[in-house]
């Protein structure tokens, strides 16, 4: 669609422009709700709408008080600390196990490949509420067993349960992105490394890993955001000591909604912009590499 041809009829012209307007409206629908909370979060009042001062762009209408509240409120701080603890650990677990399995799955002769793939992808398919329910029963038993038999502290088991649950949820994303990267990986490179005397471990870290790294990183980002955004499973598996940012937001939205949520939401939008940028850079890089060496 590179412009409208000069021979277009009046009707075609009208359609051409109204189509663009429709698309513009859909794009607006997609992005506006995300963007509108950013100015609202600087509201000096405890309102969820634009005050007349804000519309006049009067500096008195804006303030950072919701951000101050976020950074001084112990509930929110605990939630943020928990999110920053749980998400990286869950990511490491799912990336570690997931990458190994993806390499195994991309070998040429894997028995029961489809069945294995279906099982590994299942956490993404099963509706979250069902995963959460199943995990609720299982991890309650596991937690009690750990506390009674192994004598582990309650706090440790709490985090352990949530990390394991989130790792399971993140694994399909790692599997999908890494196997996708590996389909473009030239297996003769590993054979070449082996023929020059490198062991399997050395081959993996020196030859295979650097080449599939972009896939691994984007898988890790998906796993991270899965855990970082996840609320259903943590509501069921975790206890109040493990409440994460989404948990705190969920409670806030359900019970009494405070404008601090706007500040948190804005910060999370910034996080997603950073993630998106990283992914985009990775994609460009792999496109460039593929452009240099086709096939």
């Amino acid at each position: 669609m590179s412009g409208i041809p000069i021979y277009a009829s009046a009707g075609q012209r009208v359609w051409y422009y109204s189509f663009r307007v429709i698309c513009g409206l859909v794009f607006f629908f997609l992005i506006a709700p995300v963007l509108v909370i950013i100015p609202l979060s600087f509201n000096a009042q405890d309102f969820f709408t634009f005050t007349p001062e804000m519309l006049r762009l009067d500096p008195a209408g804006y303030s950072l008080k919701h951000y101050q509240d976020f950074f001084s409120n112990s509930d929110w701080q605990l939630a943020m600390a928990n999110s920053l603890k749980i998400a990286p650990l869950a990511t490491m677990l799912s990336v570690g196990l997931g990458t190994l399995a993806a390499i195994g799955l991309s070998q040429s002769h894997v028995p029961f490949r489809r069945a294995i793939m279906a099982i590994l992808i299942s956490p993404m398919i099963v509706p979250l509420i069902i995963s959460a329910t199943g995990m609720f029963f299982f991890y309650t038993k596991l937690g009690l067993w750990m506390e009674d038999t192994l004598g582990v502290s309650k706090s440790f088991t709490g985090y352990f349960k949530v990390v394991l649950a989130h790792a399971a949820l993140g694994i399909p994303f790692v599997i999908i992105t890494v196997t996708a990267t590996l389909t473009g990986f030239d297996q003769s490179l590993t054979r070449a490394a082996a023929s020059m005397g490198a062991g399997p471990v050395r081959t993996f870290f020196r030859v295979q890993m650097p080449l599939i790294l972009p896939g691994v990183i984007s898988g890790a980002l998906f796993a991270f955001i899965t855990s970082f955004d996840e609320v259903v499973v943590v509501l069921f598996v975790g206890s109040a000591a493990q409440k994460t940012l989404p948990w705190q937001m969920f409670i806030g939205l359900r019970e009494q909604i405070s404008p601090t949520i706007l500040a948190v939401a804005t910060l999370l939008v910034v996080v997603s912009i950073m993630l998106l940028t990283t992914l985009e850079i990775l994609r460009r890089r792999s496109e460039r590499l593929r452009g240099l060496s086709p096939g």
Binding site: P33, S131, F137, I176, F236, I257, L268, L276
Partner: protein, 514 residues
């Protein structure tokens, strides 16, 4: 390779002297084992932490151990009772139930059982609780007193333990032995005491009286003649505690749920119930789950339809613009996709409020009067708007990747052959984009029917999905079996749809973020 050639030239051998085929098979086997070893840790992890827990949860939808485990004696006898005669069960059933209930009360299991049966017949929970308080004070102590008066040794726990260890006594007094075993186990487990040091409870004496009254002839000194004993009817004792025990209703429920497995939860999940003559549909005003399933499906379909309607033009423009501007516009799709679900839900919650930005705007431009602000939230409208926004990228991305592969020259060719714009689109372009529409629709629909968070926060009571009901039964009503049955039905629906999706695009071809 035929045998003849092998015989003439001999098998081809590898460098180490083995036949080549064997050597190849060995290498292949080694490769397979290595691949499986790489997969094994993850597979084990997913099986243990995900697949088995879900299987266990699904099993709860048919599991009913609590009834036969808590009331083993009663459930064994209830099968012979015919509820259609309109009579309460015979004295023997009440006697067995008395033993079961005393033991359950000591173990504090009767309230749990009461809540379990309360799902099927409301009122049972309070009945169990109230009678649980009375059952220890039933007038059965007259048997204890009369038997002890006849045989003073019956006060001695050690003597009891001795008798109950002798097979001839046990054979002669089956009910007594059974009641004594239950009592001794309970004393050891609940009171941490040695049964030898205690006199058995009244219900054991009542059992002994029943055995003797039935004509049992145990060895002396237990062969008491109970002919002249003062008796008490256990059925009357229950009736005195609560007259409801003489109704057939509660006994019917116990009888219907006596087995270790039940289809009761599934029947409940589809608005049916057990009755004397098989499953039957609940009355109109009690049907909630089918309504909820239908609403979930209907709203998911509406959301999917809206996503197609909004997503198709956007995907088309993204696929047909020059790469640079398309990539720029793609950010507008990917940013919401990557933004936290809760951020998007809270944005809608804030925007759609009666005092929110959208209503302010509509009032500001005079479309809506200040007094008649639109109710956009806490109903199905709110759920549909917010979920369409949240799921729209899942429609646009597969559509885009399919449309990207349709050469624009096809449309031009159709037009040059005389098709007008609409015919060219509908007959040439749309059929080629149909796989994208199919993939996107199934994906959006699957995600929509399992949604929990957004309906919970913006749906009010009229806009909630089946997931919300499952969560309610897990965390509030604690009717886990029903939650599991509802979950199983939902899971089966999703799996069928995924099977279709797999046939259409393949599960491992899911595109993540373009």
């Amino acid at each position: 390779m035929t045998d003849a050639t092998q015989e003439t030239s001999g098998p081809i051998v590898a460098a180490d002297g083995r036949p080549l085929r064997q050597s190849l098979n060995r290498a292949l086997r080694r490769q397979k084992i290595r691949a499986l070893l790489l997969i094994a840790p993850l597979l084990a992890f997913i099986m243990v932490s995900f697949v088995i827990p879900i299987g266990d949860m699904l099993f709860r939808s048919v599991e009913n151990q609590i009834v036969p485990e808590t009331l083993p004696r009663t459930t064994a006898l209830l099968g012979d009772w015919d509820p259609d005669l309109g009579e309460p069960p015979p004295e023997a059933v009440f006697a067995a139930f008395y033993t079961d209930l005393v033991l359950a009360e000591e173990r504090k299991l009767h309230t749990r059982l009461g809540s379990r049966l309360n799902y099927e017949n409301s009122g049972v929970a309070s009945l169990f609780r109230a009678t649980g308080r009375d059952v220890g004070r039933f007038d059965t102590d007259i048997y204890t007193d009369q038997l002890v008066a006849a045989v003073p040794d019956l006060e001695d726990g050690a003597k009891w333990a001795g008798w109950m260890a002798e097979p001839p006594v046990r054979d002669a007094l089956p009910q007594t032995a059974d009641a004594y075993d239950g009592w001794a186990q309970m004393v050891a487990e609940v009171h941490n005491a040695d049964p030898v040091t205690r006199q058995p409870a009244d219900f054991v004496f009542a059992a002994l009286y029943r055995d003797l009254a039935a004509g049992a002839a145990p060895p002396p000194p237990l062969d008491v003649d109970v002919g002249g004993f003062e008796t008490v009817s256990i059925r009357d004792q229950f009736a005195a505690s609560d007259p409801k025990w003489l109704d057939t209703g509660v006994w019917r429920t116990m009888r219907a749920y006596a087995g270790p497995l039940t289809n009761g939860y599934f029947l409940n999940a589809v608005d049916m119930m057990k009755s004397a003559d098989g499953p039957r549909v609940r009355p109109e005003n009690e049907r909630i789950y089918l309504t909820l399933f239908l609403r979930t499906m209907k709203m998911s379909l509406v959301i999917t339809g809206l996503c197609i309607l909004l997503g198709y033009p956007v995907a088309w423009i993204l696929a047909n613009l020059p790469l640079r501007s398309a990539n720029l516009l793609m950010i507008l799709v990917l940013l919401p996709f990557w933004t936290s679900l809760l951020v998007r839900t809270s944005a809608w919650k804030i925007l759609l409020q009666q005092q929110g930005v959208i209503n302010d705007l509509l009032v500001g431009i005079g479309l809506v009067g200040d007094g008649s602000r639109l109710e956009l939230i806490n109903n199905s409208t709110g759920t549909i708007i917010a979920m369409t926004h949240i799921l729209l990228p899942f429609m646009i991305l597969p559509l885009y990747s399919v449309m990207k592969t349709i050469p624009p020259s096809y449309l031009r060719a159709a037009k040059s052959l005389g098709a007008n714009d609409w015919t060219a689109f509908w007959r040439v372009y749309f059929p080629q984009s149909a796989p994208g529409v199919g993939a996107g629709s199934i994906l959006v629909f699957i995600l929509a029917i399992g949604y929990y968070i957004t309906p919970e926060l913006v749906g009010g009571t009229k806009g909630v999905f089946i997931s919300n009901r499952i969560a309610f039964h897990i965390s509030s009503s604690l009717n886990w079996g029903l939650a599991a049955a509802l979950g199983t039905i939902l899971l089966v629906m999703v799996l069928v749809l995924y099977w279709a999706y797999d046939k259409l695009v393949g599960i491992d071809n899911v595109k993540l973020g373009g």
